[in-house]
């Protein structure tokens, strides 16, 4: 006998209520924003303006673990998301680069109901991101470069937004996709030397409506720095580098709208600090970072993120 058969209408409504409620919307926003910031030619959580050779490609394989707990309400909600964004990059010309981000997600939400603990989950392909970046300024000297590159693209509705479980239709934030075509644009500046690198990226995403639901627009500012830890002195040839990274991400989301009404328990501002480490050889980069929220000023009673662990590798092909 299924749990649904046991539980009454009250529980069903309760579970459906967690859909438009505070947790998933805020968490889904942050999640999408985090996955979105994963281009292959980048620091760990931030885009970069460094070049990709014409006719050449880079593949980035990432794995992210996102956990949100500590719900003060009686629902004691816990969200766990595993994300595996696969990123492909192709240099059309030395200045024009195309990016594709194909995320696979596994979302798991646990919530306490009057009838006990209930889990709602979904997994599969999420919304794919395609975008292009064009270098408009570059300054090169021996052992250093500075570049400025605007970028723009669209998030495609490739993830399903009508998945169901035993309780019925999953709420929009637990769906794998938004169902909408969401354009975005931004600009990234990079300054790199042998000893250090800084990337500053600002972007805006315009969310559109799908199936009577619209996520709020999103603004994000990312600043990533790294310093070379090893080798302390450069040796002859092409040595591998070990970097220590410190990155920060500020993400602001507008409130969602459902059926034309604003969801007061959605949107807000989150500021992450992400220490990390990066090992770069000429063909491969290995990296890891932990994003820790410093400020989470979320609207309503939204559940806050505990941490995000990112492990990733990049291959020049």
């Amino acid at each position: 006998m299924t749990c649904q058969a046991h539980c009454g209408k009250k529980v069903l409504l309760f579970l459906q209520g967690i859909g438009p409620g505070p947790l998933p919307h805020a968490a889904a926003f942050v999640l999408l924003a985090i996955i979105a910031a994963s281009p292959a030619r980048a620091q760990i959580t931030t885009n970069t303006a460094l070049p990709v050779s014409a006719g050449e490609g880079i593949i980035r394989v990432q794995s992210k673990l996102i956990r949100s707990t500590g719900d003060p309400s009686e629902m004691d909600r816990e969200l766990r998301v595993l994300a595996f964004p696969l990123v492909g990059v192709y240099g059309v010309t030395p200045k024009l680069t195309l990016f594709g981000v194909v995320p696979v997600l596994d979302k798991n939400l646990e919530v306490t109901t009057p009838q006990g603990r209930v889990t709602r989950k979904t997994s599969g392909l999420a919304d794919v991101r395609l975008f292009a970046r064009y270098t408009v300024y570059q300054f090169n000297r021996r052992g250093q470069t500075a570049r400025l590159a605007p970028f723009a693209g669209v998030e495609l509705p490739t993830g399903t937004n009508d998945a169901t479980d035993g309780w019925g239709l999953l709420p929009p934030p637990l769906q794998l996709g938004s169902g909408s075509w969401d354009p975005f644009a931004g600009v990234v500046f990079t300054r790199q030397t042998f000893a250090w690198q800084i990337d500053v990226s600002a972007s805006y995403k315009f969310s559109t409506e799908a199936d009577d639901f619209q996520f709020g627009d999103e603004v994000r500012l990312d600043v990533a720095t790294k310093v070379r830890l090893l080798p302390r002195r450069l040796s002859s040839g092409l040595p591998s580098f070990l970097y220590g990274n410190l990155e920060t991400n500020v993400i602001w989301q507008d409130q969602n709208e459902m059926g034309g009404a604003v969801d007061v328990n959605s949107g807000g501002t989150t500021w992450y600090i992400a220490p990390g480490i990066q090992y770069a050889t000429r063909r491969v980069i290995l990296e890891a970072a932990v994003q820790v929220p410093v400020v989470q000023d979320l609207n309503g009673s939204a559940l806050e993120n505990n941490f995000i662990i990112t492990l990733s590798s990049r291959f020049s092909i």
């Binding site: 956990r67 595993l82 596994d106």
Partner: protein, 132 residues
């Protein structure tokens, strides 16, 4: 009375542990690849035919872009990048030639700038394009 010893049921792997296990396997596999790649990085050319001074390269991963573009030029036999010096050394195949223009183009295709190109061996220089 019969006593049966039951083995304790192992706790199922949590998502976090599965994540950690997969990540560790991926990490070791990639480290092995990286190690192999770095082992190939140490080859330096003792008597290069051409030396290119390149502006803008500041990390090993970026340098590989230049290496790939230059290796696409017909006649390039060996290549080494000296990162700190911002220098690329080329050794050409026997009888192969290349123009300065083609070399500059290859560096530009990688997104960098060739500050100077020196033909140590003038016999590999051709006026335009690539000739053999």
């Amino acid at each position: 009375m019969e006593h049966t010893m039951k083995r304790p049921t192992p706790a199922p792997l949590t998502a976090g542990r599965r994540f950690a296990a997969c990540a560790l396997v991926a990490l070791f596999a990639t480290m092995a690849l990286a190690q192999q790649a770095s082992a190939q990085d140490d080859k330096l050319i003792e008597d290069p035919d051409i030396i290119i001074e390149v502006d803008g390269i500041a990390c090993p991963f970026c340098a590989y872009g230049i290496e790939k573009r230059l290796k696409r030029i017909d006649g390039v036999a060996e290549l080494s990048v000296l990162l700190e010096e911002g220098r690329v050394q080329l050794k050409m195949d026997e009888g192969a030639t290349v123009s300065e223009e083609r070399l500059r183009e290859a560096v530009a295709e990688a997104g960098f700038e060739a500050r100077s190109i020196v033909f140590v061996n003038e016999e590999v220089r051709t006026s335009s394009g690539v000739g053999r």
